[in-house]
């Protein structure tokens, strides 16, 4: 029996991972810094046509793309003359487990079955758990979900309690933990003990599964409206949603479409803090994941993360918790769609961004998610109030995460606040160099970094020279 202390298990992480994912990531590494991302995606992942076939077998995808006429009308009332793009939403709640995560799980679970694993494990407090469990039922595999649910008082976040319930509804075993990054330790022990497949959110399988989402948006719009969207807004947390969607958009050849990331602003709250845990009213789609994962993707539960949002993000905005709850209410009351709330982060941003675009343009919100007890503005706001967070109407600009949630008094108060992508890119470059230990970069290294931050090589070189202590020899 292998030793089980925290350090001992963590020291075996690479071996455990290799067996549980079946990918030799070293194959794609060129040196301490550079790896061949596209080779990893194409050799390990599946091609788009195969994925459509795999997803078709389990009822995943081909979700409706709905026009939000009333929210568009609201945006037009707020916009300057001639502005106010049509807002469409991809109703991903129509997937078998109620979110786009079914796409992400579908390929992993298919692959696990094909490779002969008897079950799958995922470390997730989000919709992904239910997605894995649902897909596993369809493929005849067992599921274990490891969740971060409670603070040290045993108080559970209502949204996560609901997600746990949904996993159990699909016959999954759910391990519920208190707050802390050592969830990864428990996860590794489970993988080692069971020999199950690691259905990580961050493998090429997971990300390739989302490509169909971007591809469908473009195909549907071309067919129904005869045009490509000016912008697609993606709720951004770990980066996979945005990465997969953008890759799908690129594969459909929609080169002019701008990809925007949107996260709920939870600045100031520490994600691993026992105290802060129940002072946030969003458990995903927030800056607490979005920014750390953008600036350093390889913090994930696999050695090389296939979700690399900075490669695809043209713009990154934040919205406030109160704004997302407001827009969730608006979606139900004006459009007859009760969805979210976390998935509506990108919708809150889109209502603002539509006001910058021309009336004949289209902006797409690329997901919805199911809603239910616990996972809804009412329980979230009640829970916040019970935890000492003030709820009031007012100007959301005054919202301070963990202290208050401010529901706008009118839709003109919703804002999409641009994050400084240059700073985020520099932060990424800094972490990449720090982790590699390299002090001298050649052409290959700079080209790799340029792709990583979605900038031309010359621009990347400038950013490196101006901000970091490194020697460049092109």
């Amino acid at each position: 029996m292998a030793a089980k202390t925290y350090q001992e298990v963590m020291e075996r992480r690479n071996q455990i991972m290799k067996e549980a994912v079946g990918i030799d990531y070293d194959r794609f590494r060129r040196n301490e810094l550079v790896f061949d991302y596209e080779k990893m995606m194409s050799e390990v992942g599946y091609q788009l046509d195969e994925i459509r076939e795999i997803q078709g077998q389990t009822g995943v995808g081909k979700t409706p793309l709905l026009e939000l006429k009333n929210l568009t009308a609201i945006a037009r009332k707020l916009a300057p003359a001639g502005k106010g793009a049509r807002i469409f939403i991809k109703d991903e709640a129509a997937n078998p487990s109620g979110s786009f995560k079914a796409r992400r799980a579908s390929v992993s679970v298919y692959h696990a079955k094909k490779q002969g694993y008897s079950g799958v494990v995922a470390a997730t407090s989000g919709n992904y758990g239910a997605a894995v469990a649902s897909q596993a039922v369809m493929r005849g595999l067992d599921t274990i979900i490891v969740q971060e649910v409670y603070d040290s008082q045993g108080k559970g976040q209502p949204e996560i309690l609901e997600k746990g319930r949904k996993c159990e509804a699909y016959g999954a075993e759910v391990l519920q933990l208190t707050v802390g990054p050592e969830l990864f330790y428990t996860f590794l022990k489970v993988l080692e003990d069971t020999g199950f497949f690691n259905a990580s959110l961050y493998t090429p399988f997971g990300i390739a599964g989302i490509e169909t989402l971007g591809f469908e948006i473009i195909s549907q719009l071309r067919k129904e409206e005869g045009q490509d969207p000016a912008a697609v807004v993606c709720t951004n947390a770990g980066g996979g949603n945005l990465t997969g969607t953008a890759r799908g958009i690129n594969k459909a050849g929609a080169d002019e479409t701008v990809v925007v990331g949107a996260s709920v602003d939870l600045s100031g709250l520490h994600m691993a803090s026992d105290r802060d845990f129940n002072r946030k009213s969003f458990t995903t789609g927030h800056t607490g994941f979005g920014i750390p994962f953008a600036t350093w993707p390889d913090r994930a539960d696999v050695p090389l993360n296939a979700a690399r949002a900075l490669r695809y993000m043209d713009r990154y905005v934040t919205v406030k918790q109160g704004e997302v709850f407001y827009i969730t209410e608006a979606l139900a009351q004006l459009e007859g769609l009760e969805r979210g709330p976390a998935g509506n982060t990108s919708l809150a941003a889109a209502v603002v961004l539509a006001q910058e675009l021309d009336r004949d343009e289209i902006i797409v919100v690329q997901e919805t998610e199911y809603t239910g007890a616990g996972k809804h503005p009412l329980p979230q706001l009640n829970f916040a109030r019970e935890n000492g967070v003030e709820i009031r109407r007012g100007d959301p600009e005054e919202e301070v995460p963990g202290e208050n949630i401010i529901i706008p008094e009118e839709p003109g108060q919703i804002r999409a606040r641009d994050l400084d992508l240059k700073r985020i890119r520099i932060s990424y470059l800094n972490k990449a160099l720090e982790n590699s230990g390299l002090k001298e970069l050649g052409r290959e290294e700079v080209s790799f970094l340029a792709a990583e931050i979605n900038q031309p090589v010359e621009k990347t070189r400038e950013l490196l020279e101006e901000n970091l202590e490194v020697e460049i020899k092109l």
Binding site: T5, K77, Y150, R165, L177, G180, E329, A373, P379
Partner: protein, 103 residues
């Protein structure tokens, strides 16, 4: 003396995954003061009283040991009370749509 919970009952057990001293070095100070705790649900293998160390078998057949903390685990999350701050949102937006101009 508490009554024994019958074998085969659906129960929840609790276990300390890592004591406060065993936690990862990078956790923030408030988290470092408390243990990492774990809860699992399953079928009780042998009749036992609440609070006792027991073994369960999960829905997929795995065995776990821990303290029997809930002899009838249920879902307590709900929609809860109406939230006054949200109640007017729909009415206000519909009124805005009815108003002339701005389009």
């Amino acid at each position: 003396m508490a009554e024994k919970i019958p074998a085969g009952s659906w129960v929840q057990i609790h276990d300390i995954e890592l004591s406060a001293e065993e936690r990862a070095p990078q956790v923030p100070e408030d988290t470092a003061r408390v243990p990492l705790e774990k809860w699992v649900k399953g079928f009780l293998q042998k009749a036992e009283e609440p609070g006792e160390e027991v073994e369960i078998e999960t829905v997929i057949g795995n065995k776990y040991r821990g303290k029997l903390v809930d002899a009838d685990p249920s879902y307590g999350h709900s929609f809860g009370k109406a939230v006054p701050e949200l109640l007017q949102v729909g009415r206000e937006l519909k009124e805005m749509l009815r108003q002339e101009g701005g389009e």
